[in-house]
């Protein structure tokens, strides 16, 4: 086997539809997870400041901290649905063509991009909400709903990604 043949074999083994689709799925879970981790930590930092003044607000604020964490869960869901549709969980994986692999990558893009960015933006609103609840504890519901408005787009991205995966595989 000469070097050219070796490269061809290597590429045909490494770069096939399944690898690209799996990469897309794991990237979705990873990047949305990073976004959520950043978001949750940002809100947590603001929360700690408020708690130094009044530790009894912990329960009210915890809800706000949990909100930017959902994008990470949506990423995990996308990955899981991909695993189910590709048959990895049943132990009988389907073979995807290169094009199908790239289509899956395209399907995962909305969740990757919107999930990451919306977690950060939602954290920003939730951080302001933490300040609001710190001053006016009765405004907790408003603060939570305000932050949830940002999540709408993460939900739409999840739907887009999921439905596209359902249509492709």
């Amino acid at each position: 086997m000469n070097f050219g043949e070796f490269l061809t074999q290597l590429f045909s083994n490494l770069f096939n539809g399944n690898v690209i689709a799996l990469l897309a799925g794991t990237l979705t879970a990873t990047i949305t997870g990073i976004g959520s981790a950043k978001g949750v930590s940002n809100v947590g930092t603001a929360m700690a400041g408020v708690l130094t003044e009044d530790p009894s607000k912990y329960g009210k604020l915890l809800l706000l901290q949990a909100l930017p964490g959902t994008q990470g869960i949506y990423g995990l869901m996308t990955w899981f649905i991909l695993m189910v549709r590709m048959g990895y969980l049943g132990g009988n994986p389907v073979t995807l063509t290169m094009v199908q692999g790239f289509l899956v990558l395209a399907a995962c893009l909305p969740m990757i991009v919107v999930g990451y960015k919306s977690a950060l933006l939602q954290a920003r609103v939730a951080t302001s909400g933490v300040m609001l609840v710190g001053k006016r504890p009765e405004s907790q519901a408003q603060a939570v709903v305000m932050a949830a408005m940002v999540e709408t787009y993460a939900i739409f991205a999840l739907l887009t990604s999921m439905m596209t995966i359902f249509f492709i595989i």
């Binding site: 995990l76 899981f80 649905i81 969980l89 709408t152 939900i155 999840l158 739907l159 999921m162 439905m163």
Partner: protein
């Protein structure tokens, strides 16, 4: 749709009885006291003219207001300070509070009489604070003494002559290094600089006791420089001894001092524990002080003359007679009621059937209905439970939620907003069980996984994961129904206030369009009927959305603008696809938990993993899913549903009442009044009041 009829309330009584009357009103908890600054100023002017000292009177009024503010601040501050002591008392009494503690029950007389002990209890509280401060100080001193003893202990075996060596030609300073290496480094440094000072080890270097103690020997002239040099390398002087004391004497003295301090500390702790037994009295006083502040504010809101006072406010119509009877039987008062025609200021109290009343919390979080609006609570409550149920759809999770809430309600007897939320989520849990049956969810796919895919939980409708398109259609259809209910409420609202044309030309037209569109998609003959309905709605909008002009071009332009609003309805409908996303989120995470829990099979480690992963994973999923469903259902109500018919802006009714935080008052008359069924005011009457107010102003 139940807003309670409110009436204006006026009471004139003797100034000498004002406090008792206000006490009584607070115990009845049915009258909201409102200040009238203008009327008070006018009354003060009149009084001043009569007495002939206008300027002094107005100064008096200002001073009085400032003194009331000062007194209110003082009362609230005292209550805050008492409340800060409560956790300390709990710690000292070693009482286990639990997550949802039950409040102690007291009677009204005890609640009111605790103020007689105010000075005594406050001085006890101050004494406890002083004791805690002293305790902290003593504990700090004991720690410092401990450290001093440790430092002295290492020098106890030092030759007593060295401890107090005095000579005119030689100085000896003892001290220690952190380790033998620094000692050697210091000695080498002195040698290298050919210093006249010498560093002598005081111990043999052994593994048990490394040679770290040393004596610096030098002439008085060289000592200062040598000491400075070795200090830089880490030489720490041995503690100084007072007088002719040896280290052993000093150590004994320190131990004796520590013992004395420890005894004092024990005394302080005992005394603190004794005062902490007054925890309940402190809690009661904190509540009484806050109530006193509220009562004082109400007193300040009354109009005062020379011998009489007038109190104005609002009372629910069904309670007026009862309040009147109670007051006239006990005091020299004149009481009257009148329709609440100042709609801008009149407060709102919404009342619904017990099943729907908890959802009033969700309405209150948004806003109270204003004078010309329906109460959205009943319709919103039903929709809330249904949408929550769809998002959270799982028989197992629904049962867990309902049971958890029932436990909080009936076992821990939680109160206030938490009680309303628990009642609400209990209902939502039950509805979730129904939708769990529809979509075949019991802890996700628990039954299928456990039975090795041989047995499946029954699915009445369809599996959202297997048929996502059906679920999208289901979600949007649910959304359409929700929006149509909102529009129907708008029709009812406009119809009730007499704007029949408005009801037909806007919300009803949109109902035609939405319903027509839905029927058109069904196909068959229904499709034709749907098309007719859709066209009728569109035509109404096109021709009658602007009814203020007869200019056909202007009308058509406005009509086209109104039809463009269809895009908003479209985006609203799309927004309901979140129901699908959250349904899938609940079931997919449950599936992940089930797979993780059963992945090691029927082995001993497998069973252990199963027992750990299953409860933890499913409880985590319950928490996450409840949070998501709560937040997103609220959003659908506030934005998509309320957006169609409800703007809010009403002021919640806030009567002068007993609102203790730490105790329950068993025999408060307000408990009895709460049982009386309110009189509900029809929207038409309420709106008539509102328009009358607008016309008059």
């Amino acid at each position: 749709m139940s807003v309670v009829t409110m009436e204006r309330f006026r009471l004139v009584g003797l100034l000498s009885e004002r406090r008792e009357i206000i006490d009584r009103l607070a115990a009845l908890g049915a009258v909201e006291v409102r200040a009238d600054a203008e009327l008070q100023a006018e009354l003060s002017r009149e009084l001043a003219e009569r007495i002939g000292n206008g300027a002094a009177n107005s100064v008096d009024a200002e001073e009085r207001a400032a003194s009331v503010r000062r007194e209110l601040d003082a009362l609230n501050r005292e209550a805050d300070q008492l409340e800060e002591l409560l956790p300390v008392c709990q710690r000292l009494n070693e009482t286990k509070k639990g997550l949802f503690p039950r409040r102690p029950k007291v009677n009204l007389a005890a609640f009111e009489s605790v103020l007689d002990r105010r000075d005594d209890l406050l001085s006890q509280a101050q004494h406890l604070r002083d004791l805690l401060r002293d305790q902290e100080q003593l504990e700090r001193e004991i720690v410092a003494l401990h450290l001093e003893q440790q430092q002295n202990a290492i020098w106890v075996d030092l030759n007593p002559e060295l401890q107090h060596y005095q000579s005119e030609r030689l100085r000896i300073v003892t001290g220690s290094f952190a380790n033998p290496k620094t000692f050697v480094a210091a000695r080498t440094m002195l040698d290298e600089h050919e210093s006249a000072a010498h560093l002598l080890p005081l111990d043999y270097d052994t593994a048990e006791r490394p040679a770290t103690r040393a004596a610096l020997v030098a002439t008085p002239e060289d000592m200062t420089v040598a000491l400075q040099a070795v200090r830089q390398i880490g030489f720490v002087r041995s503690p100084e001894l007072p007088g002719r004391f040896t280290y052993a004497d000093e150590l004994t003295a320190l131990r004796e001092r520590e013992n004395r301090l420890a005894t004092a500390l024990e005394e302080i702790k005992k005394e603190s524990k004794l005062i902490a037994l007054m925890e309940r009295a402190f809690a009661l006083l904190a509540d009484a002080l806050r109530h006193e502040a509220e009562r004082l504010a109400a007193e300040a809101d009354t109009l005062t003359g020379e011998r009489a006072f007038m109190l104005r406010g609002y009372v629910p119509a069904h309670l007026y007679e009862r309040i009147k009877d109670e007051l006239t039987a006990e005091f020299t008062v004149a009481v009257e009621n009148a329709p609440a025609d100042d709609a801008e200021d009149a407060p709102t109290w919404i009342y619904n059937r017990p099943l729907l009343q908890p959802y009033a919390e969700v309405t209150r979080m948004f806003s109270m209905p204003h004078a010309a609006e329906v109460d959205p609570t009943p319709a919103m409550g039903v929709c809330y439970a249904l949408i929550f149920g769809m998002m959270y759809s799982d028989v197992g999770y629904g049962a867990l939620l309902a049971l958890g809430c029932a436990l909080l309600l009936y076992r821990f007897k939680v109160r206030g907003t938490l009680r309303a939320m628990c009642q609400m989520f209990m209902q939502c849990g039950i509805v979730s069980m129904f939708f769990g049956l529809c979509f075949g969810g019991f802890f996700g796919n628990f039954i299928s996984v456990l039975s090795g895919e041989t047995v499946h939980f029954p699915t009445l409708l369809f599996d959202p994961l297997g048929e996502p398109i059906s679920m999208v259609i289901f979600s949007v259809a649910a959304g359409m129904l929700h929006i149509v209910v909102g529009l129907a409420l708008k029709v009812y609202n406009l119809w009730s206030i007499g704007d029949i044309a408005g009801a037909i030309c806007d919300p009803l037209a949109w109902i035609f369009i939405l319903a027509g569109g839905a029927l058109y998609l069904l196909g068959g003959w229904v499709s034709t009927a749907g098309l007719v309905l859709l066209a009728t709605g569109a035509l109404i909008l096109l021709l009658f959305s602007n009814r203020d002009t007869y200019n056909p071009i202007k009308r058509l332009m406005s009509g086209l603008g109104a039809l463009y609003g269809a895009i908003n309805y479209f985006s609203d409908l799309i927004s309901y696809t979140r129901i699908l996303a959250l349904t899938l989120s609940t079931s997919v995470i449950a599936m992940v938990v089930n797979i993780l829990g059963t992945m090691m099979g029927l082995t001993i480690p497998g069973v252990i993993v199963f027992l750990v992963v299953m409860p933890f994973g499913h409880l985590l999923n319950v928490a996450l899913s409840v949070l998501s469903a709560y937040v997103h259902t609220a959003r659908l109500q506030y934005v998509e549903f309320f957006g169609k018919f409800f703007t809010g802006g009403g002021r919640a009714w806030m009567p002068l009442a007993l609102r203790p935080r730490h105790v329950d008052i068993e025999d408060a008359p307000q408990n009895e009044l709460k049982e009386l069924k309110p009189v509900v005011e029809p929207l038409r009457t309420r709106y008539a009041r509102f328009t009358k107010y607008i016309e008059n102003n």
